[in-house]
């Protein structure tokens, strides 16, 4: 769908450059003239929104690193540490430090909000299906890199929840001791650079937290490249049949994406200015304490669904495998879905299970937020949340490994429209929108 280049250099300089390094041609073909389906809706704006989020995180992060001290050594007051102190100094002393840090910290939440919508959108419209499998897998890789980056960034505050989050998550590796004795502990010690989470751990996490966004940016480049080979999927899930089905990316989608980025930025600003600690944990206002675990230890909201899965399994190694398997499953989706129709708009049965799946993920997130002993009381019956999480975890796996292959075979999809142009313009070819 990329098609032949329509770029024509207009000046002597661009003609000279075009025969040596066709950089302007590349930018023109990918960002301006790129033919894009004319029916992309609001949910397709999240690619641009995510690019915006990555940019915000990199810019604020580089600036914060100028004021941050990655050290767990004792700080200015007893039981404090230099890392925690420097974060407090950013909040209180550095000019606009409070703004930069709140944008960066809440930016992670907004980034994950956007990426989850982007992923659910891809699932709903079947954007992972051929010929977009590589595009989807690159997206899964970006998501996993985001999780790692967010986790390491969260550790840098070196508050008490940060410290224990690092302890618990790095200890996941110790479950490998059950496969090969001492292997898991050796990996954990290697990750920590000591016998416990400490100064060495914090320093390496800082180094990697600085590196990872640039790795993400690189994979985003591949993701966009893989998008531009087959071109965008669209809400109808049918292929583009000719120029009548597309519009140039600029000005149509630069403006549409720009509008939604602005709306997203308003929501972002509302969080930063009116509720900057809404998603934070109060325990992170306490400096890291290696001998006192917070009473209720929870990860940030965006990792709670996976945390609920981990906690719902009573056997340690099995819990870790279920958690890892939930992420790995995403890679296989292009081959698990047996349907010949991409978009759930034309899949009356799968559509229902899709929305149940969305609710299931939210339910898992809720289970991961509650204490270990929490339970629901339904008319005298006590239902432990651990069991709710187990059922929800089972549905997560069943959705991908059973329903996706099965429903594609037995479901009768609704008739597909002949083309994007006909669907948008109608039989009478009325003006669009």
């Amino acid at each position: 769908m990329s098609g032949p280049s329509t770029y024509v250099p207009q000046t002597g300089l661009t003609r000279w450059l075009d025969t040596r390094l066709p950089l302007v041609r590349f930018a023109h073909d990918t960002m301006l003239s790129f033919p894009t389906p004319r029916n992309l809706n609001f949910w397709y704006a999240f690619g641009a929104i995510l690019t915006f989020c990555l940019g915000v995180q990199i810019v604020t992060g580089i600036v914060l690193a100028m004021h941050y001290t990655p050290s767990a050594l004792v700080g200015s007051i007893p039981d404090s540490n230099l890392a925690f102190d420097s974060v407090e100094s950013i909040m209180r002393d550095v000019n606009y430090g409070w703004l930069l840090r709140y944008v960066h910290a809440n930016g992670a939440s907004m980034f994950f909000l956007a990426v989850y919508i982007h992923m659910f959108r891809g699932l709903y419209y079947g954007s992972y299906k051929a010929p977009r499998e590589v595009l989807w897998i690159l997206g899964v890789i970006i998501y996993v890199l985001m999780v790692l980056t967010a986790f390491m960034g969260y550790s840098l505050v070196w508050g008490n929840m940060s410290f224990w989050a690092v302890t618990v998550i790095t200890n996941l590796f110790s479950s490998l001791d059950q496969v090969i004795p001492h292997l898991g502990s050796a990996i954990a010690t290697w990750l920590w650079g000591g016998f416990a989470v400490g100064d060495a751990t914090l320093n390496r996490f800082f180094s990697l937290h600085y590196l990872m966004p640039f790795v993400i940016a690189g994979v985003v480049g591949l993701h966009i490249w893989a998008l531009h080979v087959p071109g965008n999927n669209n809400p109808l899930g049918i292929d583009v049949k000719g120029p009548q089905d597309t519009v140039p990316f600029h000005p149509y989608y630069t403006v549409k994406d720009g509008f939604y980025v602005a709306l997203f930025a308003i929501l972002f600003a509302a969080l930063v200015f009116y509720a900057p600690d809404l998603v934070g944990d109060p325990n992170n206002f306490i400096p890291a304490n290696p001998v006192v675990t917070p009473a209720d230890i929870v990860p940030e909201w965006y990792l709670r669904p996976f945390y609920a899965m981990l906690r719902s399994i009573p056997q340690q190694l099995a819990g870790v495998l279920v958690l890892a398997g939930a992420l790995l499953t995403l890679v296989f989706i292009p081959w698990l879905d047996s349907s010949r129709v991409r978009s759930n708009r034309f899949r009356p049965v799968m559509k229902v299970f899709f929305w149940v799946f969305v609710a299931d993920c939210i339910l898992l997130g809720y289970c991961g937020s509650e204490g270990v002993d929490a339970a629901w009381h339904l008319g005298g019956i006590e239902l432990s949340l651990v069991w709710v999480a187990r059922i929800a975890t089972a549905y997560y796996y069943i959705y991908f490994w059973v329903l996706m292959p099965l429903i594609g075979l037995i479901e009768r999809p609704l008739p597909l429209p002949d083309s994007i142009a006909k669907s948008v313009l109608g039989a009478s070819a009325a003006p669009a929108e």
Partner: protein, 189 residues
Amino acid sequence: MATTTTAEPTRRDFLYVATGAVAAVGAAAAAWPFIDQMNPSSAVLALASIEVDLTPIQVGQSVTFVFRGHPLFVRRRSPKEIEMARAVSVSDLPDPVARNDNLPADAPATDANREIKSEWYVSSGVCTHLGCTPTASTPQIPQGEFGGWLCHCHGSQYDTAGRIRKGPAPRNLQIPVYSFVSPTRIKVG
């Protein structure tokens, strides 16, 4: 250009494989310092043992010290707590091994194998599930059903001999090498 195919390896094949092998070994040798720098440094490995004065600890009290960066539990058990720990049979335990560095690796997890002196319980304070620090029961505020410790992270429950009884943790709390240097003083490590 025609290529000649012979069954016999040529001198060129040998040079090709040998060069590749040297490059692979060289790459591995160059990678090792980058991998090993992550491991604990000499300064960390040189962490000394600690001595704990037991005199301030009251009957029924559990105190947490820091040993090699990790919490260390020292508990002065009441006769009732000792009795509770002895009442359970090893075959009913999820982890039947003592996990005591002072004993052979296959010692059974009897109460006697979990302490040097039955009044003084000493172990790591690292939950064997994912490394949180469990909270100790007191007579006023019990933690879990077994009178010992409850890990709030994921609900693992330990008894008064630090043995896992319920929840996701796979092993009993690890007991480090320690000895009594005097009746009221222990050396750990």
